[in-house]
Assembly symmetry: C2
Homo-oligomer: 119 residues x 2
DNA sequence: TATACATTTTCAAAAATTAGATTATGTTTG
DNA sequence: CAAACATAATCTAATTTTTGAAAATGTATA
């Protein structure tokens, strides 16, 4: 099954990184960690899962997740800040959807690791 | 309706999930979030990056990251708890390595998203 | 049109929880 | 004992939830 695991597209870091490389690496790690923190939250993960199958209003999410609307709204704000979701107003309701497939890419891996094998 | 067709190995959740499915989903989300939280930390991400190119002792990591050993040790404890790294004792030193390619799978995606395009 | 009111969502601030760094102390090995 | 790591206790900072509004939109009715 792992025919498509080539010796990794990851770079190899040698032990003597230049100060510039170290800084670059730390800067990237910061951005990546921020992104992963946004995903590392039960509620936000659930939101993303639901949005993966189509846009939802805040009220719909509130009902789907059994979470108070203010909390949902705040979690959406975080995801919006991270550029993972975008709002679209239609009358009274605001519908959220995934902005691109970045969260999807991660979630597919996460799904394989934590959901697939347990079904 | 749906703007883009998801290529997606992700399942589609319909709005009327059974209570069992909801619980299952939340349980999975909890595990996945815990995993993502472990990765959502600059220091731990850097540790994993370094371990991706081979096992390292705590002292080596301490030097590579310019972080006190107690902090490195704590971060390693978290990663160990999450099953992402494993220790191997050799004399006085303890060498850590990735347990499997789960972190690698995530990191490859993260690397593509945050590091690749900026080099 | 104007007024009143309900609904949906956001905002802001306080309270509660959690996470991380530091310091200090143990443990294992040579 | 010294070196290499781990663990515990403490302190601080960051996150999350809760609460109580406020803003925007739509509906009903006179």
């Amino acid at each position: 099954m792992n025919a498509q695991t080539p010796p990794s597209r990851l770079p190899v870091f040698h032990d003597d990184l230049s100060p510039e490389d170290t800084e670059k690496m730390m800067s990237n790690a910061e951005k990546a960690a921020s992104f992963l923190k946004a995903l590392g939250h039960e509620g936000r993960l659930m939101i993303l899962c639901h949005l993966a199958s189509g846009e939802k209003s805040v009220t719909e999410l509130e009902r789907l997740l059994s979470v108070r609307h203010a909390a949902v709204s705040q979690q959406l704000t975080r995801l919006r800040y991270e550029g993972l979701v975008k709002p679209r107003r239609d009358g009274k309701a605001i519908y959220y959807s995934l902005t691109d497939d970045r969260p999807r890419q991660i979630m597919e891996v996460v799904y394989d690791l934590f959901c697939r094998d347990e079904d």
